[in-house]
């Protein structure tokens, strides 16, 4: 039985279990729902879950473990001298798997019988060609040892699957009989189901922790390698970012950090006021028609690929700024403050536009959720709408708005394409928003996707930058949490 069918069966069984459990509960209560501890559907769900969850868990573990087991077993069959020097066993095994799969398909399509497979002679039968016709491409001709192993692999997987079906079935049965036996009018089915639900919620929440562990796992070693090759003092306290193919680069995070903060700041300076005012207008002033088309339209801004924004920065906003702030006497202001089109301001402005919906849409929802009675209270005192919004609605919605702004800020820190095209690629320590700068994230991407030696500090610095940024934002988030907490305590 294939996994698909097995799962389908389990689903079918659970559905039946649901009905049975529900029925039994009702019977135990003499048909009167009110005599039950929980609603009948909870009893049904309890049975259904007991039938499906443990077997599914077993199934997934089995599916993971079986190939490992079989492979180690089959691998032992392959004579060592068969494995060419320096060829990994796993590669040979993938060949075995491929052949075995081909045999399976051949039998399935009726091209070979199971008996024929057993006596198949690899040399005589042009197995590579025959399997090739079935769409199973092989890298080379099939050697007898591989064919033997593949046959073995095939039978073992078949036996394994059979056993798996039995075990899974057993688990389902046990789960059923246990939960079905428990089903009684006094059994706390709702609590059981809700405990299960709660477990799921906790698993969902802890996924964040797993992700963090994954991130640290995937970057830590290379970061350590980097610090083995590069002076940590230069990384943290140096003032120059100048990677170099010849090695001996100066790789300091500080100018990048400055650029990151500067560009994000300008982006937020654009996005937060515009987004917030847009949200306020939409939720407090606009009529439903305006709101129902303007809001989704604004959300499109978040979905335009960043490459478009990058080009927009490069081709439209940048030259426009140069016309204003550059070109000396030809320019609008007659000043020569800006040379190229790329600058912190260019990137910040464009990124700000992209971030508008992050602030506007989320804030709009939160502002809309402030109870009308709050507004009434303020309006009833003779406040204008804007006073009401500023002094009552916004403070009430503040936690949500802060969340939206943090999200926008996070996005700003993580943005690459707009920065690369809008702000340039030169790390610069300067307060002038009309100069080019660059950010940590863009450097991570560019060092990682460049042509430098992958074991050199110039590439590995990407991991160190990633880790440093990670730790940095972690610190900022802890700070933010702390501030929000102390602030909140005044109100609840």
């Amino acid at each position: 039985m294939t996994t698909f069918w097995l799962i389908s069966c389990l689903i079918l069984l659970s559905t039946a279990g649901f009905a049975l459990g529900r029925h039994r509960a009702l019977v135990s209560a003499g048909g009167q729902v009110r005599n039950l501890h929980s609603l009948p559907s909870y009893y049904g769900t309890n049975v259904a879950l007991s039938i499906s969850v443990p077997p599914l868990a077993v199934l997934s573990v089995w599916l993971l473990a079986q190939p490992l087991f079989i492979e180690s077993h089959v691998a032992a069959m392959i004579p060592l001298e068969m494995i060419p020097e320096n060829v990994n066993l796993s590669l040979v095994m993938s060949d075995v798997r491929r052949v075995s799969e081909g045999l399976d398909i051949a039998i399935y399509q009726g091209l070979m019988s199971a008996g024929e497979v057993e006596i198949l002679d690899s040399e005589a039968s042009d197995l590579r060609g025959r399997l090739g016709d079935l769409g199973i491409a092989l890298g080379s001709d099939v050697r007898p040892e591989i064919l033997d192993a593949a046959r073995r692999y095939r039978t073992m997987s078949h036996d394994g699957r059979l056993m798996m079906t039995i075990v899974v079935g057993l688990f389902a049965l046990v789960g059923f009989s246990r939960s079905y036996g428990q089903t009684d009018k006094d059994y706390r089915a709702r609590n059981a189901v809700e405990r299960g639900g709660m477990a799921l919620l906790i698993v969902a929440a802890s996924l964040a922790i797993l992700t963090t562990i994954g991130i640290v796992y995937s970057m830590l070693f290379e970061t350590i390698n980097f610090f083995g090759l590069h002076n940590w003092r230069d990384f943290f306290f140096g003032t120059t970012w100048a990677p170099n193919f010849r090695g001996d680069s100066e790789l300091s995070i500080l100018p990048l950090l400055w650029g990151t903060l500067y560009i994000s700041f300008i982006a937020l300076l654009v996005a937060v006021p515009i987004g917030l005012f847009a949200a306020i207008y939409l939720s407090e002033y606009a009529n439903t028609a305006t709101r129902s088309f303007a809001k989704p339209l604004l959300e499109i801004l978040a979905g335009i690929p960043t490459i478009v924004y990058g080009l927009f920065a490069l081709l439209t906003i940048g030259p426009m700024l140069v016309r204003v702030f550059g070109r000396g006497d030809d320019g609008l202001l007659g000043v020569e403050w800006m040379t190229g089109a790329t600058s912190v301001l260019t990137a910040g402005l464009v990124m700000g536009i992209m971030l508008i919906p992050f602030v506007s849409s989320l804030s709009d929802d939160i502002i809309n959720a402030v109870p009308q009675s709050m507004r009434d209270g303020s309006l009833g005192l003779g406040a204008t709408k804007s006073e009401t919004v500023r002094q009552v609605v916004i403070p009430a919605a503040l936690p949500g708005i802060v969340g939206a702004v943090l999200l926008a800020a996070s996005r700003a820190i993580g943005e690459t394409m707009i920065v690369v095209m809008g702000a340039g690629a030169i790390a610069n320590f300067s307060g002038n928003p009309l100069e080019s700068m660059t950010t940590i994230t863009t450097r991570i991407v560019s060092q990682l996707t460049g042509d430098t030696d992958f074991a050199s500090p110039e590439t590995l610095v990407a991991f160190a930058l990633g880790m440093a940024l990670f730790v940095l934002t972690l610190g900022l988030n802890i700070l933010a949490l702390y501030i929000v907490r102390t602030y909140r305590e005044q109100y609840d």
Partner: protein
């Protein structure tokens, strides 16, 4: 309140007091700011969208050349026994002469005067013409020897010429096209051999190599994006909402939940490429999931989208007044029931907004896909089953756009913008469902 007199608000209602005037002016300003904010945003959207449409519209039309090709037996099946494996031995290079003679024949038939060599004549056709022929022959070996009519794609320069992208003045140094070729094209257009039609292959086809921009399509990448979005939606929405519910409604306030909370907001600030590093390390190297597979892409994008959904869902949940929860608990609902029956529906608009924004971000993201092998030249065929769609190598729309935008031939540039139109349509379709749902849940209380 002796010191507060009636004069505080005195006077006629119709005449506004000085203070009211001032406050109303502030009110008007405030409202104007709101309108300005919306106007600015919509203006930007308008500019962006018109730019995109203006630049990408061309990709939806394509130039074709109709030719009669004689499928010469002596070239295609020397032995004449129609043995498929022998026919297959003839590579696309072997088909070039057939095309050459077909073009020459056509030009002669029309009686167009041209001093072009046959190589330049073939230059009018896409480099994919030979492959098209070979495909046909392999599928219909019995037609060998016949003369069959084919509709070949024109080369990108010819196509560009008909679309106004390539001008006679600008081709002086271009070794891919010459004025004489353009003259011929003009003649062929008059003869109806060359025509521009709607280009369905752009919407349903697969990527093509750098030499054949005219053949490149978005369809397969679109399926890749669709598969990824299905994974993202199926995972990030339940997980995100589940995590938010736990954190906002049930979690005891202790250091552990604090850690989770800080973690989530921190994950939002992790650059997307780092999620790619994570995906490569964990999903491919550790869990041995296939490379370049939309499944892995979907998983990575799920992790990337989760913080967005969680943050917005939590904000929405906490905005639901506690009197609603009290009401439910007071009549004996469990907390779980109170949340799922009453709080969640009220928080739905915020959750959907988070989903819209999170998915928009996931749909447009390339950086993490770079590291798990979904960016590049992945010209696979459209997958047949959902499982294959998830597991077999594929690209994604933004990756495809990003790739096209990098390619040298300007024809790809047009396709990149055309692809962006498709991406936006995809996004709008996806959003529409969410927006309609959101409107149904929106209410004030």
């Amino acid at each position: 309140m002796s010191h507060i007199t009636k004069e505080a608000h005195g006077g006629s209602l119709l005449a506004q007091s000085a203070r009211t005037k001032k406050r109303n002016a502030a009110e008007t300003r405030f409202k104007a700011f709101g309108i300005a904010a919306i106007a600015v945003s919509l203006l930007m959207l308008f500019v962006l969208v018109t730019t995109i449409i203006g630049k990408g519209w061309g990709a939806y039309q394509q130039t074709f050349i109709t030719l009669q090709v004689e499928l010469l037996e002596k070239k295609l099946d020397k032995k004449g026994n129609r043995n498929l494996s022998d026919i297959k031995k003839v590579s696309t290079f072997g088909y070039a002469p057939l095309i050459k003679s077909a073009v020459t024949a056509k030009v002669e038939e029309l009686g167009v005067e041209t001093g072009l060599k046959s190589k330049q004549l073939v230059g009018l056709l896409s480099k994919g013409a030979a492959a098209q022929l070979r495909d046909f022959v392999i599928n219909n070996p019995d037609r060998i020897g016949d003369t069959v009519e084919f509709r070949f794609l024109a080369s990108s320069r010819v196509d560009g010429y008909l679309k106004g992208r390539v001008h006679r003045e600008s081709i002086d140094n271009d070794k891919n096209i010459s004025p004489a070729q353009l003259d011929l094209v003009d003649a062929l257009v008059l003869a109806g051999v060359v025509e521009k039609t709607f280009n369905i292959d752009f919407i349903i086809g697969a990527d093509a190599s750098d030499q054949r921009p005219e053949a490149a399509g978005m369809g397969v990448a679109m399926l890749g994006s669709l598969s990824m979005m299905m994974v993202v939606l199926a995972l990030s929405l339940p997980i995100g909402v589940g995590a938010s519910i736990y954190l906002e409604e049930f979690a005891p306030k202790n250091w552990l939940t604090d850690i989770i909370e800080v973690n989530i907001s921190n994950l939002a600030a992790v650059p997307s490429i780092v999620f790619g590093i994570l995906g490569l390390a964990v999903f491919i190297n550790y869990m041995h999931l296939p490379m370049s597979a939309p499944l892995v892409g979907g998983l990575v994008l799920t992790l990337m989208t989760l913080p967005t959904i969680i943050i917005s869902t939590r904000a929405a949940l906490s905005a639901v007044p506690s009197s609603i929860r009290d009401a439910a608990l007071g009549i004996g609902a469990s907390r779980m029931q109170a949340v799922f029956h009453h709080v969640l529906p009220l928080a739905a608009p915020g959750i959907l907004t988070g989903t819209i924004i999170g998915l928009a971000q996931a749909l447009g993201e390339t950086a993490p896909l770079l590291l798990i092998g979904m960016v590049g030249f992945i010209a696979s065929n459209a997958p047949d089953t959902i499982a294959e769609g998830l597991m077999s190598p594929n690209s994604a729309m933004p990756a495809q756009i990003y790739e096209w935008a990098k390619r040298a031939d300007p024809a790809f540039y047009e396709r990149a913008w055309g692809g962006i139109i498709l991406l936006l349509l995809f996004l709008v379709t996806m959003n529409t469902v969410a927006v309609i749902l959101r409107r149904r849940f929106e209410r004030r209380w």
